[in-house]
Amino acid sequence: MIPLSWYLTFAAILFCIGLYGVLVRKNAIAILMSIELMLNSVIINLISFWRYRAPEGISGQAFAIVVFAVAAAEVSVGLALIISIYRRRKSVVAEDMNLMKW
């Protein structure tokens, strides 16, 4: 049987990788991908906590579903922003987007 610790460590690692990606990647889309990684690790945590702490209830799952929805919305808006910035600035590099208003 797989103890809870495995899942949590796996999620933590995945989260740290995601964090590294966000902090380090130059490309805005890469940053978004890393954010996706972090969100996935969150969901894994949620489901594992549900499975190990309160399998009879369904609040963990409901929580996960809402996080799914939020992730989807976040990605769509994020990409839309990046594309509009790209259209305006012809660049997707995070460092170029250092002005509040062009």
């Binding site: 902090l23 380090v24 940053i31 995070a94």
Partner: protein
């Protein structure tokens, strides 16, 4: 109507007249003089009713007409104000109402009512006459109407109100109020023709000198109030209060006087001011600048007599503490001042040329008579003389007014440039102005005390008899001399103005004055004679018993203990007859053929003394030196130059200098370096901090994230470690 209510209403009509004229009918001359005369008539009628009721009530002084109302709340008690009619008040009311009415009527004529308006007559100057063309075209100059006609009537209305309140009031406070109103009116009326500089100076002089007297009087009233807690006569004249006042020494043992003495003296000073006695007499002759009805009313009948009325009213207080007829200090002072003023004024009167100034000085001497009489205790005689003097002095003044008026008429007619008031420009007016002549003659004889027929003789004789009877030899001699001089200057005046032949053309053209002026003269003339007979003492030989000595019984009864009638002695009678006839004949002899432009025979007779008398013993100059110049000096040099400019301004400038220097120091050493410095320091500091912090804001999202995470981890590790510890 109950007498109390009637007495309350006596003073009101003149006051209403005053307000009506001032506020409403100032422009309509006819309307305003009719209101004024109507008011005087009403008051006169009320006074007559009150007088006759007073005569018919027995023991009036025990139950006088009196009622009082609460006026000023003084803690739990009230200061009461009311009316008080006892025999003295009744008699005073009698002569006041008569003289006031007569003067009101006389004023109508005096101010040329009905004459045309003068072309270049100005307000505040005597009317110069108007030129009119009669039916066949040649020009005449006719006396013109007084431009400020209704204003005059308003002021004498106010004056009448003041006199009436003084007479009927039952306490010293309302008496004092009436006293002050009269002072004000005298000021306004003396300066009626305010454009004349002399009138202006006279009105201020009159007001200030009476003011000096009033101050002492007020002190007296205040001291009295503090002493007995009330001012009404009923409280003052209670025997026990008088006894207390007599016993208690004056505050601080002032000259060893008793309280009553000190109060008496202070009140007497009020009278000295008001009735123009010796030290404060200077204002009365100058008051002649006012129109003649004013001089008559204020300076003959009412105002000056008010002063004597006060002293008569307060006689019991003054007499308090005298043991079996011995003179108390205030009475002593009164006799001295009274007698001296009498002889002093009489000497000046003989050297005056102006018809009104002679009468002014004669008033002063007659008042001196009354004060002297009161001083020696002749209460009834003084009261009697007060009444008679009011009548014949008013008569003389109005007579002189009509004489001046007539001569003025002549001056306008002839266009001669001559002073209408100087007796040496007159003469021979007997034929031109018969009524004025006869009434003036009656007044003159009454003044000089022509034996048996004139009222003056009986009242003056009474005083001399009292003086003789009570053994005051010095007073008797002085008063007799004064009577001699009085008779002399009266006859001088009559002969210069009426007898002989006219010394100037304008005197020739003088005309008899209008009936409104001569009627009052006649009425006053009647009184000047008839009044005397009411006061003949019973013990007089021959005609003693015919008429009851009404004055003695009636007026005498006002005193607590009834003064006993003196036994008749022939000496004072002989002296008074001798004195009056001698004076008259001497006056006539000296001035009977006075030529035009000739000098005054007295000048040669008296020489240097004459000039001294002419200049009124130089008292005006003396006061000028003693009081006026120091006052100016005080005002200008001392307070203005020294005190104000040098000291106060100096201090202020000094303070200003200090302030500015301190300000400068603060500015340079505190404000600039420290406050501004701190301000700049803060500004620069913020800028510097801002510059340093700026570099943090790189705009790179990831750098922000890193910083945030570092801080977050710091916090996390901190908490984790702390939680790990325990």
């Amino acid at each position: 109507m109950s007498t109390d209510l009637l007495v309350w209403l006596l003073p009101l009509p003149p006051l209403l007249a005053f307000f009506l004229i001032i506020l409403l009918t100032n422009r309509y001359k006819a309307f305003s003089h009719s209101i004024a005369i109507g008011a005087a008539l009403l008051s006169w009628l009320g006074s007559m009713v009150v007088f006759f009721r007073a005569i018919n009530t027995e023991h009036l002084n025990l139950n006088p007409f009196s009622s009082a109302i609460n006026w000023i709340p003084t803690g739990d008690t009230w200061l009461q104000v009311g009316i008080w009619v006892d025999p003295l008040t009744a008699v005073t009311l009698f002569f006041v109402s008569w003289t006031v009415l007569m003067i009101f009527i006389y004023s109508v004529g005096y101010h040329n009512y009905g004459q045309p308006q003068g072309e270049h007559d100005q307000k505040g100057l005597q009317p110069h006459g108007a030129s009119i063309a009669d039916e066949h075209g040649h020009k005449h100059i006719v006396p013109s109407i007084e431009p400020m006609y209704s204003r005059f009537f308003a002021f004498i209305g106010l004056f009448a109100f003041g006199m009436y309140t003084l007479v009927v009031s039952d306490n010293l406070l309302t008496l004092f109020i009436g006293w002050e109103i009269m002072g004000l009116c005298s000021y306004l009326l003396i300066g009626f023709w305010y454009q004349k500089p002399t009138a202006r100076a006279a009105m201020i002089k009159a007001f200030l000198t009476t003011r000096v007297g009033d101050v002492f009087m007020l002190l007296g009233i205040a001291y009295l109030y503090t002493a007995i807690g009330s001012l009404s006569f009923s409280d003052i004249f209670k025997p026990e209060t008088l006894h207390i006042l007599a016993q208690t020494p004056a505050l601080g043992g002032f000259l060893g006087l008793s309280a009553a003495g000190l109060i008496g003296i202070l009140l007497f000073f009020g009278t000295v001011g008001k009735s123009a006695q010796w030290p404060l007499h200077v204002w009365l002759p100058d008051a002649m600048e006012g129109p003649t009805p004013v001089s008559a009313m204020i300076h003959a009948a009412t105002m000056v007599s008010a002063g004597v009325y006060l002293v008569i009213r307060m006689f019991p207080l003054l007499q308090a503490g005298s043991v079996h007829g011995q003179l108390t200090p205030p009475m002593m002072l009164m006799t001295i001042i009274g007698a001296f003023t009498a002889i002093f004024a009489a000497t000046i009167a003989i050297a005056q040329n102006d018809i009104k100034r002679v009468l002014a000085y004669s008033t002063i001497s007659q008042l001196g008579y009354m004060i002297a009489a009161l001083g020696i205790g002749a209460y009834v005689a003084a009261a009697f003389h007060l009444v008679t003097h009011a009548f014949f002095k008013a008569l003389l003044f109005l007579g002189s007014g009509s004489v001046i008026h007539g001569v003025e008429h002549g001056v306008l007619h002839t266009g001669e440039n001559v002073d209408p008031q100087d007796m040496f420009n007159m003469g021979g007016l007997r034929k031109k102005m018969p009524i004025t002549f006869w009434t003036f003659l009656i007044g003159g004889l009454a003044l000089s005390g022509f034996p048996l027929i004139t009222a003056g003789f009986w009242s003056k004789d009474e005083i001399l008899a009292d003086a003789f009877g009570h053994g005051h030899w010095v007073v008797f001699i002085i008063l007799a001399l004064a009577a001699l001089l009085t008779a002399f200057y009266t006859m001088r005046q009559i002969t210069l103005t009426f007898l002989g032949n006219p010394r100037t053309k304008s005197a020739e053209h003088a005309q008899e004055t209008h009936w409104t002026m001569t009627l009052p003269l006649i009425i006053l003339g009647v009184f000047a004679i008839a009044l005397g007979w009411s006061g003949i003492s019973e013990s007089f030989p021959l005609i003693g018993g015919i008429l009851p000595n009404f004055v003695h019984e009636f007026v005498g009864s006002t005193l607590a203990e009834f003064p006993e009638a003196l036994p008749f002695s022939v000496w004072p009678l002989l002296v008074s007859i001798l004195v009056s006839l001698g004076g008259l004949t001497a006056g006539w002899l000296v001035y009977r053929n006075q030529k035009v432009g000739a000098e005054d025979p007295l000048k040669r007779a008296l020489g240097p003394v004459y000039t001294v008398l002419k200049n009124k013993y130089y008292f005006d100059e003396l006061y000028n030196i003693i009081f006026v110049r120091p006052a100016y000096w005080m005002a200008d040099t001392f307070t203005n130059q020294i005190l104000d400019r040098k000291i106060i301004d100096g201090i202020l400038h000094f303070i200003a200098r200090i302030a500015s220097s301190v300000g400068g120091i603060l500015r340079n050493y505190f404000d600039k370096p420290i406050v501004n410095g701190f301000g700049d320091f803060v500004g620069e500091g913020v800028k510097k901090v801002g510059r340093n912090l700026k570099i943090i804001q790189t705009g790179r999202v990831q750098q922000y994230l890193i910083m945030a995470l570092i801080l977050a981890f710091g916090a996390m590790f901190f908490f984790v470690f702390t939680s790990l510890q325990h």
